[in-house]
């Protein structure tokens, strides 16, 4: 499954942010979207997951036009999203946050197993299973957000700045989880400012500046120089 943005313009009211963006995920592995603050990265993912309707262009899911499909229906097709800012349902406990998503799974008997598997992937969550998510640390909340997205058993995981504002020890765990996920066959669209991690994990990258894709190429550490040059421009 691939997600494709074709000639997409998008913005907020009269403010246009994205201009003629063409970008596609890979069927497997990580595609990194890099760019400075204000380059339009979050607008791009919000358009991809359906929170923002493009003013021009199309969003395709394996060739099918899903431009006007509601976000929750995109989740059902296999598109999961971890937004920026370690967002969780603060008044719900850690377990309830996970159950909420597992509730949609069929058959019913699978639901508990999905929650257990999510806890196993992020053992730090087990200790805070009954605590309200709003009272967790930033790192725990981010792990919870990724775990919640993974319960939907996505074909493509869209991650918006997953390591932003997280303490270094937890960053390593999150990076390991993303790498592990990508190598197990789930496609990832990774929006990151942390260029080193993003390029190490990515098969392909795209650099966004002023709402346009200004550079693309193959990932890997050797891509550093090209990306740095594109980011400087």
């Amino acid at each position: 499954m691939t997600l494709e943005l074709v000639g997409v313009d998008a913005g907020y009211g009269r403010t246009q942010v994205l201009r003629d963006v063409n970008l596609a995920s890979e069927p497997e592995g990580v595609v990194a979207v890099l760019g400075h603050n204000g380059a339009g990265k979050t607008t791009l993912v919000r358009t991809a997951v359906g929170l923002l309707r493009p003013t021009r262009g199309q969003v395709l899911w394996d060739g099918e036009d899903i431009t006007s499909l509601a976000p929750h229906k995109r989740v059902a097709r296999g598109l999961a999203y971890v937004p920026q800012g370690q967002q969780s349902f603060g008044q719900l406990t850690t377990t309830e946050n996970l159950q909420l998503v597992a509730d949609r799974a069929r058959p019913r008997a699978r639901r508990a197993a999905l929650v257990d598997a999510a806890m196993e992937r992020f053992p730090a969550l087990t200790a805070v299973a009954t605590r309200k998510a709003g009272l967790l640390s930033g790192g725990q909340r981010q792990q919870l957000a990724i775990a919640r997205a993974l319960i939907t058993e996505p074909k493509l995981l869209v991650l918006d700045e997953p390591t932003e504002g997280i303490q270094p020890s937890v960053v390593a765990e999150i990076e390991a989880a993303v790498t592990d996920l990508a190598s197990s066959g789930t496609a990832v669209l990774l929006v990151e400012q942390h260029v080193g991690f993003a390029l190490a994990a990515a098969a392909r990258y795209a650099v966004l500046a002023s709402g346009r894709v200004v550079s693309t190429g193959a990932g890997g550490r050797e891509a550093h120089a090209g990306v740095r040059e594109a980011l400087t421009i």
Partner: protein, 294 residues
Amino acid sequence: MDVIGSQLVAGVSIGSVLLLVAIGLSLTFGQMGVINMAHGEFIMAGAYTAYVVQQILGDAGLSLLVALPVAFAVGGALGALLEQLLVRHMYHRPLDTLLATFGVSLVLQQLARDIFGAPAVDVRTPSWLQGNVEVLGTVVPWTRLFILGVVVVAVGGLALLLTTTALGRRIRAVVLNRQLAETSGISTRATDRLTFVIGSGLAGVAGVVLTLVGSTGPTLGTGYIVDAFLVVVAGGIGQIRGAVLAAFGLGLLQAFVELSTTASIAKFLILVIVVAFLQVRPQGLFTVRTRSLA
């Protein structure tokens, strides 16, 4: 001591009526932020449902018990209709919702007048609810205790629904963060609709029990709508436990203030107290407490 006991009982009795009319509103207004002025008319529709069921079944005892679930369905259906035709186009536009639903409330009142006539109709109290019982040295009508029982079941049921079921989790999630809920695979539209149906259904239930303590006429709900909003706002937006405390708090306050003045002055004083309380604590009794924004 006798006076305190009797006012205590009176306060709990007033509080239970307040809570019953406000509990549905705490869902639709408190949790969804929709100012539904027609909530009072859903209560009125519940009361007329009790009347119609009694006309059909004849037996007052049986009809009361049958009317409770039927009124929930009637209130819920009206709520679904209102949500589908009007409210869903006005989410996040509270002033528009207020004006539009106020118009709907007037239409529903006139509809009730056209169908049942302007004068109040007679809903008989079942024989098993007639008479009184002595509580804390105070004579309390059985009807008041029945209302308290219905409140306990309604609020307990709602609390159980919200805390232990998948639908409850969905409702709470949508209230907390609509966009995150949508991108977590939850249909926020379907959840909104169901929440509105449940809140309106509870208004219908409130209408049935109000036939036990007052007359059933087209303007029945108007008398309660302000009190209901007062309870929800004083309790804290989106807080069921806040609504419970606020309802009984206001009920007791009214009972004790009435001791030294008239009912009208007591009502006025309570409004002043609530306004003063909201100046100090605009968020109401309870607020959402988290480390994160969501």
